[in-house]
């Protein structure tokens, strides 16, 4: 006996006989209809389940700090089924439409694994031909469909909207980056001014690896052997490669002065072009443009280990007196440094790739660790621009050390907002 039959029968039981008869007839009729309905439902879905209760409190709002291509949908999940015949919600489908009447498009799904308020970010791109396209500054409507084991048995939520994805000019989640860049720029400008006025008198602590460069060039001259300069696998956009160009300029000038030879095998075509210009400029600065040959700087290949094979071959055939590896290096670092060690060359290396530094430390005579590589270009060049930037970096680091100590103390005392203020979101 189903819920309705029971309710009707109970309601009519205390009445008179006629009423009882009518009630019985009604009950039989209801039972008959109910049985037929159950059969139909069982045939259709395999069980007598009814749709679950849908989610509630659906809201849709513009996602903050973006280019206007996202909307955040929140909703309160469906309650746990109160009776055995109610289907269990397994997941939620989030649908989007340009009007309340549809057509609706499924934009995402979430598992039903919590009773806490759920948040879904509907984000897309600007390509109108892509299925991922998200219309900005357009009225959008959202609804959430509670899905059960049977795809035909679900519950719809109320419709939320209209909402528009609007782009923001200011990403507040990245404010710390802005303040740091501003602070650093001001610091650089101040120290640039100081460096222009005081020139070479600004102190930079000696860097053993860079001091060894002049010595190594002298050794190569005495031995009558070339210097191998490897710029690594970085592109022209990598800071380590850019720093390496400055040092290459200095090395090529010295090499030209000492009338020895430098070999620069390149991995990246753009790096090769810049390296050629840098070496040519070095020779011109030394007053020996005639000594420069294009073959000194050459492109090898853009395949990592083919490049390594070629450089290794060069090391063993040319037997350079000095190998300088400055730039971006990856898995090839130890292979190059070991071959150089076998060839008996003095080796100076430097990279900002933390994973490769250990290999250079063990296999090379001198290693510039991380930022020392950037400092080396200022140390060698002594140009106000580079010196000013290096000084600004140093004082920025000093400020950071102080802030870090304050931050740790504040966090330890329970004032976590201080550390949170420095966190970058998005």
């Amino acid at each position: 006996m189903n819920y309705y039959t029971e309710k009707i029968t109970r309601a009519l039981l205390p009445a008179n006989a006629t009423a009882l008869l009518v009630a019985l007839l009604l009950a039989c009729a209801t039972l008959n209809v109910s049985a037929q309905e159950s059969v139909v439902e069982e045939d259709a879905v395999g069980s007598a389940l009814v749709a679950p209760v849908g989610v509630s409190s659906v809201t849709a709002s513009d996602a903050p700090n973006d280019a206007g291509r996202a909307v955040v949908v929140t909703f309160v999940p469906a309650p746990v089924p109160q009776s055995e015949d109610q289907a269990l919600t397994l997941s939620y489908e989030i649908h989007r439409a340009l009007s309340q009447d549809g057509p609706w498009k499924k934009v995402g799904a979430m598992p039903s694994d919590t009773t806490a308020i759920m948040t879904f970010k509907d984000a897309g791109g600007r390509d109108t031909t892509s299925s991922d396209y998200f219309p900005t500054e357009t009225d959008l409507y959202y609804r959430v469909r509670s899905m059960t084991v049977d795809t035909a048995l679900f519950a719809e939520s109320e419709i939320a909207g209209p909402v528009q994805g609007i782009g923001q000019w200011w990403n507040s989640g990245r404010s710390p980056v802005f303040w740091f860049v501003l602070f650093f720029t001001i610091l650089t400008l101040v120290f640039l001014n100081v460096a222009r006025k005081r020139g070479d008198s600004l102190y930079i602590r000696p860097l053993a690896g860079i001091d060894a460069v002049d010595e190594a060039i002298g050794r190569a001259t005495e031995m009558g052997k070339p210097i191998l300069y490897v710029l690594g696998l970085g592109t022209a956009s990598d800071i380590a490669t850019i720093a390496s160009f400055t040092i290459l300029g200095r090395v090529s000038r010295k090499v030209a002065e000492y009338q020895t030879d430098v070999i620069v095998p390149c991995y990246d075509p753009i790096v090769f072009t810049i390296a050629q210009e840098t070496v040519r400029s070095g020779y011109m600065d030394a007053g020996r443009p005639d000594a420069y040959r294009d073959e000194q700087v050459y492109f090898v290949t853009q395949a990592q280990f083919a490049y390594v094979a070629a450089v290794n071959g060069t090391i063993l055939r040319e037997r350079p007196a000095t190998n300088i590896y400055l730039g971006k290096f990856f898995a090839e670092s130890l292979i190059l440094a070991e071959t150089g060690a076998i060839a008996g060359s003095i080796q100076i290396a430097g990279t900002d790739e933390i994973a490769q530094l250990p290999f250079f430390v063990v296999a090379c005579d001198y290693t510039l660790i991380g930022e020392e590589l950037y400092a080396a270009s200022a140390y060698l060049g002594r140009e106000p621009l580079l010196l000013g930037a290096l000084k600004a970096q140093d004082y920025a680091k000093a400020v950071i050390v102080v802030l870090a100590i304050i931050g740790v103390i504040m966090t330890s005392m329970g004032y976590e907002w201080f550390a949170e203020a420095f966190k970058v979101v998005g």
């Binding site: 990245r174 800071i239 395949a303 020392e372 680091k397 950071i400 504040m410 201080f418 949170e420």
Partner: protein, 271 residues
């Protein structure tokens, strides 16, 4: 016979012999079997040629090196042409050229001419020096270096600097502290224990600060400053040691992979 002729001929004979040994004579598809035997034998031979470098530089290594460099340079040139010019620039610039290259025309976008123009400017370096026009190529180089350096400032500052400092700041000196009595009574040396958490936080905080001091270039590293800096370099060296061991393990697995190819796929001595 000259040694320079004898060695290549002998090598080719040995290579053919290995191919024949590798060939499955009962296979249904003879062409496929032959290609597979050639492929595996070439892989095995080239691996041994590259390994011969461990002994000393020799003709076999030179051959493998030049083959590898030549093939890879040509391959990457083709990849560069198709992925940049044929699939990105031309489909937005010319319908007839797109069709000629078998690419769909994606609609004309004028600003795709900018990288094409910069690329052409870069090629002026190849013109004869007598034309005195090669200097224009520096514009492209300046554009690449300056624009990318500018773009990377914020990304580097965020990923390598601010994130590191913010993470350090969020470490309490005394995590889960409820008093000295509780600390002693619940003293635990397990990874989840309060003592280990506290010790880890102290190591990170001191390591970050002393590491930053090491990279301070404006002051001589003497006195107390020098001692903190020395601690910083110790922290760096311990980190490098751990990274070294970890990476060496990875390299050993690469060697195992190559040896597996030699002994299983090529020689067939292991199952």
């Amino acid at each position: 016979m000259n040694r320079k002729v004898l060695i290549p001929i002998a090598s080719i004979i040995v290579f053919i012999g290995f191919v024949l040994l590798k060939l499955d004579w009962d296979g249904a598809d003879r062409t496929h079997e032959l290609w597979e035997a050639l492929e595996v034998t070439a892989g095995g031979f080239l691996t041994l040629m590259i390994f011969s470098f461990l002994y000393k530089d020799n003709a076999f290594y030179k051959f493998a090196e030049h083959l590898y460099v030549g093939i890879s340079a040509a391959y990457w040139m083709c990849v560069g042409f198709w992925s940049n010019l044929a699939q990105q620039a031309i489909p937005h610039l010319s319908q007839s050229l797109s069709e000629a290259l078998g690419q769909p025309f994606l609609g004309y976008i004028w600003h795709y001419w900018i990288p094409v123009a910069l690329g052409l400017i870069l090629l002026t370096r190849l013109l004869p020096e007598s034309m005195k026009i090669g200097w224009i190529s520096k514009w492209t180089l300046a554009f690449i270096v300056a624009s990318t350096a500018g773009l990377f400032i914020t990304a580097n500052l965020q990923a390598n600097f601010i994130a590191q400092i913010a993470s350090t700041m969020s470490l309490p000196l005394l995590p889960d502290w409820t008093g000295f009595g509780d600390f002693l009574s619940n003293f635990d040396l397990s990874y989840e224990g309060q003592f280990v958490k506290m010790f880890s936080n102290w190591v990170i905080i001191i390591g970050v600060i002393s590491g930053l001091v090491y990279f301070f270039f404006s002051k001589e590293h003497t006195g107390w400053f020098g001692r903190v800096s020395r601690l910083g370099i110790w922290v760096l060296m311990v980190t490098f040691g751990a990274a070294f061991g970890y990476t060496v393990m990875g390299r050993v697995s690469l060697l195992v992979g190559r040896l597996t190819f030699l002994f299983r796929d090529w020689a067939g001595v292991i199952g």
